[in-house]
Symmetry: C2
Subunit: 338 residues, 2 copies
DNA sequence: GCTTGGCACTCCGGGACGGCGAGTGCCAGC
DNA sequence: GCTGGCACTCGCCGTCCCGGAGTGCCAAGC
């Protein structure tokens, strides 16, 4: 009974604080929400909530603000992802349906997500290691320089330059192309790499074969070169009312470190689950006052990439989660069609 | 005589203000620079300089700061681009020589430039319209979907998806590939587009021919899709001691508007000239307190792209210009070799 | 046993005030 | 034309003070 009201108080505190960005006091609380009790009662509840570590006060005789733990409880038990309006759904569909290729899908998604959430959006390109090879093409630029072009099932096109030790001719390339295509088309990249390593090449083009296999292996294993991300909405960092140096700056720096961003997004999760990482729960202490809302996307339940937003812990979780989920769904649908 | 000293005073004011970021007074000026005259004399000179609109004071009884006009005079007549140290040159060479392909060159350049100047760096990819076609490749993804891959002399690889009205077979594609290659290899894209438009295709693949020609035309004419830029060093925006909202925010927003960035970089200029756009001289009023230092790069005197930095008007122009010029030279050299 | 009104207490924020220091403009003298 | 001197202007900063919002606690009431 009282427990229920306490949770209602917590919810009210979170909602008020998110919208006003100011510590919320007992009186304002009963006025803005119809709690049906007096401020004094709310104060007692607040004391209990503070005892449990769910809220805190910045300084004596100020209102309360939620702690990370408080947000966590709020997200887990006190709220549901609020569905998007049909107008919003339609807008998302319209914008994303206009995309002409994968690059375009990613660019539009990241912009859209930033606009919907008013936060910094991050979209990972479909992971190389989870995509199948749809087509492989070799282009001989010079006798010792080969361009390998991989076209993946997700629509992603990846190119790599290979410098060869020996000069090769067009015939060699044609032969290699045929053998490559037979070996790896339709397979995932990890499978393809194994296949290639196992294949015994004709001695005359062994060097080329090995070089190309190396490139594929590297494309798979080297996170820096194989996992790409797009970022958008950096201007929304201004919404951090917080101090520039402590909050905005590290984030601004991280936005150029794609490895960091990938780590922030976390591991892809299938099943349409939206992951919320609140403040200190994340892997970096510098981001103690930022939360990450992310989810996987991809055909069916198999996530082939992640997308999400990063913003202040003080954010509108239900709305943000809804936007992230909605965009991920539409992206999945589009990739499915392609 | 007095004129000379006045200019020396202006130079001293610019240098001091750039390094301290605070209005500089007459007394500090004679102390830090060996001007050989008394503060009172300097004050007279300052009054004259202010009369000419070269310096101004934020409020009565504060020191002076340079105006845009003052910076302009400083850049044009009071300073020379200070050459990089050999250590710096070596560092630039080492970093850029490690690049494996054009993307890598651009990424490294933008990072390098941001680090050298401690400002926001912008590097434009080699302009499509000024590059020659080295190779063209067609890949039939589905019977009605064709991937056109252009490899340009600059090393840039561009891909476009073409949706066809009619289904085509491998033979058609092979034929088209041959004709395309003959028609456009070695030509610039504008030339290639003209050539394609003029060519009379065999009637059976006329539709495909037209579609591909359209894509090439669009690649040339549509700035948004054909001109790409890379941005780096956004974290250096923190160096704007200025107010966040008025200076940093619009820039942060612009960094995602590549069209705006291209306009900021300006038209490519050959001949190794470094262009400096100071404050209000630029095309956007929002950037009244930012300057752009840019230059063209490319083999010989023919600029095929621009690069530069954008920062507060209060910046170290000689050093920044030197860094921009040095990076442009090395990028040009690398593109020349490739 | 909760809930409530009352009350004293704390502390932040903002405005007023004043001294300090940096810097200027002007003037008379060299 | 340069210089030293001098009065003046202001921004900056620390202090002080007050109002207001909010709290914690307690005693009374349902």
């Amino acid at each position: 009974m009282q427990d229920e009201r306490r949770l209602a108080v917590l919810r009210a505190i979170v909602e008020d604080y998110v919208s006003t960005q100011e510590p919320v006091g007992s009186k304002a609380l009963v006025e803005r929400h119809g709690l049906g009790v007096s401020p004094a009662t709310v104060r007692n509840d607040m004391a209990a909530l503070e005892e449990e570590g769910l809220i805190t006060q910045p300084h004596t005789s100020a209102g309360r603000i939620p702690t990370d733990k408080g947000y966590r409880l709020f997200v887990d038990r006190l709220t549901t992802i609020k569905p998007m309006t049909t107008a919003e759904r339609r807008a998302i569909a319209t914008i994303l349906d206009g995309a002409v290729d994968l690059d375009d899908v990613v660019q539009r998604s990241v912009r859209l997500l930033a606009q919907l959430t008013h936060q910094v959006a991050i979209v990972q390109y479909p992971s190389l290691s989870r995509s199948t090879v749809r087509h492989v093409e070799l282009v001989l630029l010079t006798p010792t320089r080969l361009l390998v072009i991989l076209i993946l099932g997700s629509g992603r096109v990846e190119q790599r330059l290979v410098d060869l030790d020996v000069a090769v001719g067009d015939d060699d390339v044609a032969a290699l192309r045929g053998r490559l295509a037979a070996a790896i088309t339709g397979r995932t990249i990890p499978e393809a790499a194994i296949e290639l390593a196992a294949a015994v090449p004709p001695p005359d083009v062994a060097g080329v074969h090995a070089a190309v296999a190396d490139v594929l292996l590297e494309a798979l294993s080297d996170h820096r070169s194989s996992e790409r991300v797009a970022v958008g909405g950096a201007a929304n960092l201004a919404r951090f009312g917080d101090s520039f140096e402590v909050s905005v700056r590290p984030l601004l720096e991280a936005l150029e470190e794609h490895v960091v961003l990938l780590k922030l997004l976390g591991e892809a999760q299938g099943g349409g689950m939206v992951t919320v990482r609140i403040g200190h729960e994340g892997p970096y202490q510098e981001f103690a006052s930022t939360s990450v809302v992310s989810t996987g996307y991809g055909p069916g339940d198999a996530a082939i990439g992640n997308l999400g937003v990063v913003g202040p812990t003080r954010m509108d979780y239900p709305g943000t989660m809804a936007a992230v989920r909605a965009v991920a769904r539409y992206v999945s649908r589009i990739l499915d069609e392609a």
